[in-house]
Symmetry: D2
Subunit: 301 residues, 4 copies
């Protein structure tokens, strides 16, 4: 079955239950007087991983109504909350590499490359003694396979082996399930990037196992997959027609089967399509700037 | 009801009938030994306009399996067929203005601005006596309302009044109904641009009535609207479940009503979204180049 | 003679004299605890205009050592000082149009278009009643003559006539004389833009006389002209060789004649070239952001 | 002493002599009925390298009056001549990597990245069995040190070690001495890229010794260095003043010393600047397209 969301938060929500999910620990907190809701999902073991459908690790989701809006007063609090979280992941590591995944020519997939564009890269400056107040930051926007002929994983493995950073931060555009999460949610995951449902699918996981050093993923949902949209429409139809309608037929299927059905209704060509908002250019520019500023701040020593 | 396609060809196909549509004349031809199919739809009068749902005028659709592919051998024939058609529209006019509508920051909407980028603009060169072998070509990529605060129509009215070209050619990205038409169909219409369903909706028609001179629209479908996708899924579901399924319920609705239903199932936020292929960057670059070369060729005197 | 600088400040400096220049009033001030030096040059009458070589009007130059640096702590004070100055020019006008002149494809000339990219455009939002806390801001990046076939002046005349703003703000990249002024100086001039020596020369002045409403120009020097570089080298050579060298020959020429000589030594092809720093991309991105934020702030009502 | 040109052809021209240069073999040919002049300079041994100031190897220069012009009829012959030369370098190698060096945000330095944008990358398509009629082409636009914190050499070493191509083709913008060579000359060198005088200097040579496989460099001069401009002005001044002028003084210096003098007259800040034509955007777009098409053609099997 194709993955329908890259957000651990939404996978948790999909599991309709009041009982805690075994092997998964969820906690939320508000950040002071900001409106930023922070949800921490810890997948504690393989049982939790199987139950949630996400690898063992920690997933932090930062949500805000305002991330999508033209509102400078917001940029600052999100930068701070994100930076604080990044600092915890960085710990006392002194050399980080930041990889902006995705295709800069396709707007909702350009998030990663745009973060690199605004990043304050310091590795060469520190080595030449020009600055001293930062940890070592190197950066790469490797491009996508259609541009390079190489898997992103392969390029990053080569560079990490050569440059030997202590932490790899990968930035990527994600797919969400709910349209109202697009462009206003940031997910941090110490599990790296799994093959997903974003614009540019990475077929091989970019994680600490494959890379050899800790990998922190920063993701923002910028698209919805077409099967998700169709699945939602089917749900809406079930509700709309009530018990005289197709409900009785669709009732036979559980949610996973219904999603499978939606996928089957989608022609192969549609699978290679994505759904994104018309103002995606503004959103991606704004959020990439927030992320790069947060990394810049977290890298100050 | 929201428009579901900007292609006259698809609106004709939607009308399931073997009888000719009154007031609409349709003819097709193949272009020599190329694989380019040319369909000419002439909406002859108001009756035809009402029947087809498109203003009175001529719509030429050029279709090719290859327009979407990396194949240089194709670029040349399409350029030639398009250029030949443009020459007929230009006739003996000596001053044309080309407007590339859309937002260059949103990939599927960047078609118009990208055409302008590759255009051979000659107005100033002719006036300075630097060249002489061309008709006067001026060009503008006005941007979208979110960038300018002004309707595209308003900007073009102002420039046409000032520069006084004899023909305005507007380039725009369109919405199609069928995903396999995306990025391999070019529509020429002497009716200009109607408010449509593309990425960036133009609320006011850009046509000869509003502009004061003949307006030729060159459009390429690069997106599908979300309601269209949902509608298609409903159709597929009807077929899938057969007579034991929702068919009996949905049967009560005709196609227009069903599309209306699809629209209602789509939340307001989804209406501001579009569906586009993952390789849209390559497609838009390629087609915009073909269109600009065709205009360049047609403008040679 | 070709103009060697677009900065009123440098034209004043070129006049080597301790006496005040007749018809020209110069005053400077520091802005509080920032390091921003503000020089106000008022050309009071035609005598002043002839003496300085700049039209009658007010020229405000904001200079800072830090504008070129990667230093977020600086961005804020410059935005504030600039915004304060803009507010004075805007006064109680309620409708402004911002024009970003230049070619977005040539890095040092992209300043104007980049400002438009970051601008908060409000005209359509106010008219639709979506917002209310701003004056009306419309915006255009008209492109350069090689792209449009039209003079920037012509396009702006057409749009101002149609949209009827009360103030036109034009943003443009300028040429400076001294390399250490590049990318760290902002000039405000209520005289608009004169034909100058920047990357993309505007042949016709964009000023209130030609546009019909007040025109405020915001300019940043991003290039040096080739004759300026050559002239400087000649000066350096004169100094280097002392009285046994070419000094005796060059002594016969005054500064204007020497600049004329430098121009003559420059082949015609070199005249169409410009000199710019290797890190121009970073500089233009940074400064355009500062300017757009300052306009955004000044437009809040 | 700073290098004043990256073109072997110009270094040869600088040596004012009718005698053949020892260890250097020069031959020219015209390409059929095209106007493309091909100069082949073979530096045969260390003596030749010392005499010419370029490493041992073969330098092929393709020159054409038309490369700079808007003239489609030209693009085809240059693509063919370049492709023919590339095929000879590729020989029977089956796996090539193409690296587009430079900064895509600085117009004259964007040549390399723009070539990658238009390249037909095949490595993944061949491995997945989607196509079969090509040799394996992978590609990377690594960015510049200010963007990545890493030397281009380091990134390329890492990728070549990992991907194991048989040939590395590097594309880069170069500095020329003569302004009329800009944007109309292509240099092929089997010596790779030496630290040069282009926009973005590579401090470490990218050659077969450092990379471990053959390295072919494709370079196009897009800038002139500031010291070169100043040096030319000094030469012009010497000529202008005749024997009553500074000639007697400057006569004491040979050409190298005079260039050294020019460098000293140039302030440190000016050294970090470059000189480029105002229409550099058009030129770089055009030439990068010609180079990518030539590589595409040469890679067909």
């Amino acid at each position: 079955m194709r993955v329908r969301t890259d957000l651990a938060l939404e996978m948790k929500e999909d599991i309709e239950t009041d009982e805690p999910i075994k092997g998964v620990h969820v906690s939320t907190k508000n950040n002071g007087d900001t409106d930023i809701l922070e949800t921490r999902i810890v997948v504690e073991n393989e049982e939790g991983a199987m139950n949630l459908g996400k690898p063992v690790g920690t997933y932090i989701t930062l949500e805000s109504e305002h991330l999508r809006e033209h509102d400078d007063s917001f940029h600052k609090p999100m930068t701070e909350v994100l930076s604080k979280n990044l600092k915890r992941f960085i710990g006392n590591k002194r050399r980080i590499m930041v990889a902006g995944l995705g295709n800069r020519e396709v707007t909702p997939d350009a998030l990663g490359p745009f973060v690199i564009d605004n990043l304050y890269v310091t590795r060469h400056l520190l080595r030449e003694g020009i600055i001293s107040h930062s940890i070592e930051v190197s950066a790469i926007a490797p491009g996508v396979m259609a541009q390079t002929g190489m898997e992103s994983l392969t390029i990053l493995q080569a560079l990490v082996d050569k440059i030997k950073p202590e932490l790899l931060i990968v930035i990527d555009a994600l797919a969400a399930r709910q349209s109202d999460r697009l462009n206003k949610t940031i997910q941090l995951a110490d599990t790296g990037i799994s093959p997903g449902s974003g614009v540019g699918n990475h077929r091989n996981a970019i994680n600490s196992e494959n890379i050899g050093i800790p990998v922190l993923a920063i993701g923002v949902p910028t698209v919805i997959s077409v099967p998700t949209i169709v699945n939602d429409a089917m749900d809406a139809m079930v509700d709309a027609f009530g018990k005289n309608g197709p409900k009785n037929v669709l009732k036979k299927f559980n949610e996973d089967e219904r999603y499978q059905l939606a996928c089957e209704m989608v022609t192969p060509y549609l699978e290679n399509m994505f759904v994104t908002p018309k103002d995606i250019d503004e959103a991606v520019k704004r959020i990439s700037y927030t992320i790069s500023e947060a990394i810049n701040e977290a890298a100050l020593a």
